[in-house]
């Protein structure tokens, strides 16, 4: 933002470590300070957080646990404190160098969070399924009659054999929606079945630019 917002005397361009910024108004200066804060937030918190989020969305839970230690947690907690963002260094724009990738970094992080949400929903389903299985199998293990019946049913009188059955070919052709089709074509199948949101967004952008689909079509699914 370089537009003057008032006609105050003394307003002049000022070099801020390479950035020429109109500072004739407090509002403009505040905007720059906020950009500085966004950059600090990225550097000190979100960059690390995204690394952990990516481990989560990728199903690398063991690595996540290994890396996201209690110490890391405490560091992130502290790094997000107001003292880091509202201080003299920020007010005076000391050591501030504008990073033009800040916005895209945040955008990328948003995708990572969305993918993480999909993963969380998937994990919730899997967890519920597992809990149900556990509960029922525990019911068998803790009841003598059920346990005997289970063993009788599962482990007695069985010999491997081919049985009475019919095999038949499913002949219907499979056609994916364009965004799934192009995603698989470009990136292949997603690990653990959760599509990467950022990659999907790129795919959708391509399809819309090509005129293959509209935004409305994508939203309606």
């Amino acid at each position: 933002m370089t537009t003057r917002t008032d006609g105050s005397a003394g307003a002049a361009g000022r070099s801020l470590h390479g950035l020429t910024q109109a500072t004739s108004s407090n509002q403009s200066l505040d905007l720059v300070r906020d950009i500085y804060r966004y950059q600090l937030l990225w550097d000190k918190v979100i960059y690390s957080l995204q690394r952990y989020t990516n481990l989560y969305t990728g199903g690398a839970y063991s690595d996540l646990k290994k890396n996201f230690t209690p110490e890391e947690f405490r560091k992130l907690l502290l790094a997000n404190s107001n003292d880091f963002y509202y201080n003299n260094q920020v007010d005076e724009l000391i050591d501030f160098s504008y990073n033009s990738t800040t916005f895209s970094n945040y955008k990328s992080n948003i995708y990572s969070i969305i993918t993480g949400l999909n993963t969380a929903v998937d994990q919730y389903d899997r967890l519920n399924y597992t809990i149900n299985q556990f509960n029922e199998q525990e019911a068998v293990l803790t009841n003598k009659d059920k346990l005997i019946e289970y063993i009788k049913t599962q482990f007695s009188d069985k010999i491997t054999t081919e049985a009475f059955y019919i095999s038949q070919t499913y002949n219907t052709d499979v056609y994916l929606k364009p965004w799934f089709n192009l995603y698989l074509e470009i990136y292949g199948a997603p690990p653990s079945g959760v599509f990467d949101t950022e990659k999907m967004a790129k795919v959708v952008e391509i399809l819309i630019k090509r005129g293959d689909i509209t935004m409305a079509q994508f939203v309606s699914g």
């Binding site: 399924y129 029922e136 690990p191």
Partner: protein, 341 residues
């Protein structure tokens, strides 16, 4: 959580089972697994029977479903012939000269057999079997609310994506769902054909060997009858319903015996009245003492259906546009419990 209360039972049933067993899953007295037929996916070669090695149930399957069917459809499927029903009733074992057969045909003096798979008004709709275990997508929202055709399309989605198991990834979702249902007539046709081919087969215990033609059908009948008889005379105090089912079987034999006596009486009466042999039914001699295994509501008969992907099991999914990712799609097997109503 309660909606999944049958999960583990149903999941267990995906595994190979004894040939005849009681189970809590279907709330029925018996589940009987055929051990009869196998056919190729192309249906243009002869059925193969050589792989049956023992008198037991199915191998493990991927998923389990249940489909309600009329019990009456199956009561002209298996039969025995014996000249000493009283011995069978009291001892609970078949005589050595008891014959076991399937469907029957005029050459065997068995003319009223019915193949169940084409007797139902619109055939059996396996695609509408309710899935009870081994869900392609086991989320709570879908569990207890999934039919076979939905499950198979979700399985296809899961195979292609490596995990995403919803059919909304397909642009031809409805066609895919319909495609599963469209397989039902062919399943019924082939089951009927195989049973029809076996309808000329019947044998006594000593001659029921794997080398005999249509062994799998005949041994299926013998297995079922043996187990029903054993159940009838071996009361399990822990399972009254099982014992009752065996008793019901004996009662069914008794009813048929009485009907045969009455028919024989009428037949003789006809002969004496008209002076000619009507030959409606000849009950003199061993070969015509025939008794059907009557199925009742609550009985369950299991069959196994295998769905092969178009490109063959284990191959990558493709369509006219090319590869769909690169993940393989395997065949998917369903054990369908035909739940007699």
């Amino acid at each position: 959580m309660s909606k999944l209360s049958l999960f583990s039972n149903a999941s267990d049933l995906r595994k190979q089972q004894p040939k005849l067993y009681n189970n809590n899953f279907t709330d029925c007295s018996f589940a009987f697994e055929f051990i009869a037929m196998n056919t190729s996916s192309t249906f243009n070669v002869s059925p193969e029977f050589e792989r049956v090695t023992a008198n037991v149930g199915f191998p493990d399957v991927d998923s389990v479903g249940i489909l309600d069917v009329p019990a009456s459809n199956f009561s002209r499927l298996f039969y025995i012939k014996t000249n000493d029903l009283e011995f069978i009733r009291t001892s609970g074992i078949g005589l050595t000269n008891t014959s076991y057969g399937v469907v029957g045909n005029p050459a065997l003096s068995v003319t009223d057999g019915v193949i169940p798979f084409h007797a139902y008004p619109s055939n059996f709709s396996y695609a509408y079997s309710k899935i009870r275990g081994g869900y392609a997508n086991p989320t709570l929202d879908l569990a207890d609310n999934t039919l076979l055709y939905q499950d198979y399309v979700r399985y296809t989605a899961k195979s292609i994506t490596g995990g995403y198991a919803l059919s909304d990834i397909f642009s031809n979702e409805q066609a895919l769902l319909n495609g599963v249902a469209n397989m039902d007539p062919l399943f019924n046709f082939n089951l009927s054909t195989l049973l029809n081919n076996a309808s000329g087969c019947e044998n006594v215990s000593a001659n029921i060997t794997p080398s005999m033609t249509h062994y799998n059908f005949v041994i299926s009948c013998k297995t079922l009858v043996d187990n029903l008889l054993a159940d009838a005379v071996n009361e399990n105090t822990n399972n009254a319903s099982s014992y009752l089912r065996g008793k019901q079987f004996l009662a069914d034999l008794e009813i048929q015996s009485k009907l045969q006596e009455d028919a024989n009486y009428l037949n003789v009466a006809n002969m004496s009245n008209s002076g000619e042999n009507t030959s409606l039914v000849n009950f003199s001699g061993f070969s015509t003492k025939k008794y059907w295994v009557i199925f009742h509501p609550g009985d369950v008969m299991a069959i196994r259906l295998n769905y092969f992907p178009k490109n063959g099991s284990g191959n990558k999914a493709t369509n006219a546009s090319g590869n769909l990712g690169g993940n393989p799609i395997n065949d998917r097997s369903y054990k369908i419990y035909l739940n007699m109503k």
